[in-house]
């Protein structure tokens, strides 16, 4: 069969190499030359023990939650603005969507300039550069252990939640802003396609029943958009869990590792420090996180297809 070479290529390059990475993560190859003697789970213990990786896990969580939420809301708002029989619809659609055609590196370079504290938006809006430090801000917003909530958490044995490892690094929000600029148009396109697939009769029927526009949206339109929302969350979520190019171009590590991400940690561990086994362990953690999101989605879409 002519498809055999492709199957072989995917089998080897996707599944075979994932297997090899998983194997490397259990070896002692933490120097330039390969050493495939078994290390058990020592590399995983080592990375989870590493304060930088702990911070990275916090960062990737904060980035994923903020980015997915912001892009979804903005995309939905844009789609609804566009879907009102406006003039120059094509123009607005293109303006919101063109960042998708650009590489994260270009986005990162431009947004670094836009958010440089001594210039950019600070000088445009006359903001004080000493308080608006954007991606150079080392502040981590977290629960104080002295605050009422913090004390209560301490009393019930959850005092660790008041550490900065469970906070929100302010610098990361600049990366979120740039990522939202780049990807929200994509969400808009998804929602716009979803909105236009909803027959007008459904909305009209609700209006005839006396529903206000807001209620029509809330009870008729939004539920019908659920499959679109799920797809968008999955796509955005898996992109943000592996985000790399954007942070590298904008702020590779950040103040106090405030914009560091697992992908960056993996790269520097493996290819700068030649600790290939530890780098592989980071990669395995990333793969597991993404598989948790993607595998159910593939099964879900597969089922939907069979139902047709």
């Amino acid at each position: 069969m002519l498809i055999a070479p492709s199957i072989l290529a995917v089998g080897v390059f996707v599944y075979g190499l994932i297997g090899w990475t998983a194997f490397v993560s259990t070896t002692n190859w933490n120097d330039l030359l390969p050493d495939y003697s078994s290390a058990g789970l020592a590399n995983f213990a080592s990375i989870f023990d590493n304060p930088r990786f702990q911070i990275d896990l916090r960062n990737t969580t904060v980035f994923t939650v903020c980015f997915v939420a912001a892009a979804l809301v903005l995309g939905l708002v844009l789609a609804n603005l566009i879907d009102r029989r406006i003039r120059a619809e094509g123009f607005f659609r293109s303006v919101f969507l063109f960042p998708m055609a650009i590489s994260f590196i270009v986005t990162g370079v431009v947004w670094k300039w836009l958010l440089t504290p001594s210039s950019g938006f600070n000088s445009l809006f006359h903001l004080d550069p000493t308080t608006n430090r954007w991606f150079t801000d080392e502040t981590v917003i977290h629960l104080g252990s002295d605050s009422p909530v913090g004390r209560w958490l301490g009393d019930i044995g959850l005092g660790f939640l008041t550490s900065t490892n469970f906070g929100v690094p302010v610098a990361m929000l600049s990366i979120v802003l740039a990522a939202v600029w780049q990807m929200s148009g994509f969400v808009m396109a998804l929602y716009l396609a979803g909105l236009r697939a909803i027959p007008d009769e459904l909305r009209e029927a609700a209006r005839v029943d006396g529903a206000t526009e807001l209620r029509v949206f809330r009870h008729v339109v939004l539920p019908l958009l659920t499959p679109v929302t799920i797809s968008a969350v999955i796509i955005l979520g898996h992109i943000s869990l592996k985000i790399y190019d954007l942070t590298v171009a904008m702020s590779p590590i950040g103040p106090g590792f405030g914009t560091d991400v697992p992908a960056n940690f993996m790269w520097t561990t493996a290819f700068n420090d030649n600790q290939f086994a530890r780098g592989a362990a980071v990669a395995v953690v990333m793969l597991v996180l993404i598989a948790i999101v993607i595998v159910p989605y593939l099964i879900w879409t597969g089922r939907r297809e069979i139902e047709r």
Partner: protein
């Protein structure tokens, strides 16, 4: 109709024949004001790219970042082009063959998966698709070993191979959905006429594939051009495509902002032009990669 075709239908504006509800002038005004504010947000980086790139070295100051250039200076672009020209050439040497080969492979795979169901093809497809969602970090270390073993380490050829292989899932997906929309009766009729597997593909499907090819070519062109991770890991400096070179340029403190911005614009220009002229197909690729069936 494929989902793709449905989507390109539905992306069209609502038909004007629909009865117009009475609209309040004020609400239209608010609507357009909101649209314009949002448009300004999306276009701000473009404005900054242009005005900074077109400024001379002496005019690039932090305070005057938002001002129009006093006189058009192309020195920023000339400098950036000097620095990035070899990398732009590398990007083209990479993107053109990789895009063409992946489209050919995707078309063939899509044809087989859509029209020649065989035992296990239902299971095979999601297994192939999984390959487009994985974090490439999970294959990067062995991939470097493999390219060394194949003797293509550091080279553009090696990078072409990598993009072709990891492009298989998405190109197969787009073509499979595209071909699924072509009626089976057409294939059956050709088969009754004695056409075999190859002739059905060549004489029946291929002539109907043009817009499918446009979607896939644009998709692959854009994603390979914009790739950074594979390029920075697998190529040596002389073979760096433009994304890696731009990141290097922007990371260097000795390079002025006007040169950086001009460089960013040069690196973005090819995919931006594709978007401007073939945006419709770009959107179809985008949607095909996210929602299937």
């Amino acid at each position: 109709m494929t989902a793709d075709a449905v989507r390109s239908e539905v992306l069209r504006p609502r038909s004007l024949s629909r009865a117009r509800r009475p609209t309040v002038r004020a609400s239209r005004f608010v609507l357009y004001a909101a649209l314009l504010v949002m448009a300004a947000f999306y276009l701000t980086p473009v404005y900054v790219l242009l005005v900074t790139g077109l400024k001379g070295f002496d005019e690039v100051s932090l305070e005057r970042m938002w001002d129009f250039p006093q006189g058009l200076s192309l020195t920023g672009f000339a400098d950036a082009f000097d620095k990035l020209a070899p990398n732009l050439a590398n990007s083209f040497r990479l993107v053109i063959p990789a895009t063409l080969i992946s489209a050919a492979i995707g078309s063939l795979n899509g044809y087989i998966l859509a029209k020649w169901r065989f035992r296990g093809s239902e299971v095979l497809f999601p297994l192939i698709l999984f390959g487009m969602f994985i974090p490439y970090q999970a294959i990067l270390i062995p991939l470097l070993q493999v390219t060394r073993g194949l003797g293509v380490a550091g080279s553009i050829e090696g990078l072409i191979l990598v993009h072709v292989v990891y492009g298989i899932p998405i190109t197969t997906l787009i073509f499979r959905n595209y071909y699924a929309a072509i009626p089976n009766e057409l294939i059956e009729a050709a088969r009754v006429d004695g056409a075999d597997f190859v002739r059905i593909y060549r004489d029946v499907l291929l002539p109907l594939s043009i817009s499918g090819f446009v979607v896939v070519l644009i998709w692959q062109f854009t994603s390979i051009w914009n790739d950074f991770l594979f390029a920075v890991t697998l190529t040596e400096q002389s073979n760096w495509p433009v994304t890696v070179a731009l990141n290097n340029l922007a990371g260097s403190f000795s390079v002025e902002w006007n040169v950086q911005m001009a460089g960013a614009l040069l690196a973005a220009l090819p995919t931006l032009l594709v978007f401007v002229f073939l945006g419709r197909y770009f959107v179809r690729g985008l949607l095909a990669g996210s929602l299937k069936g």
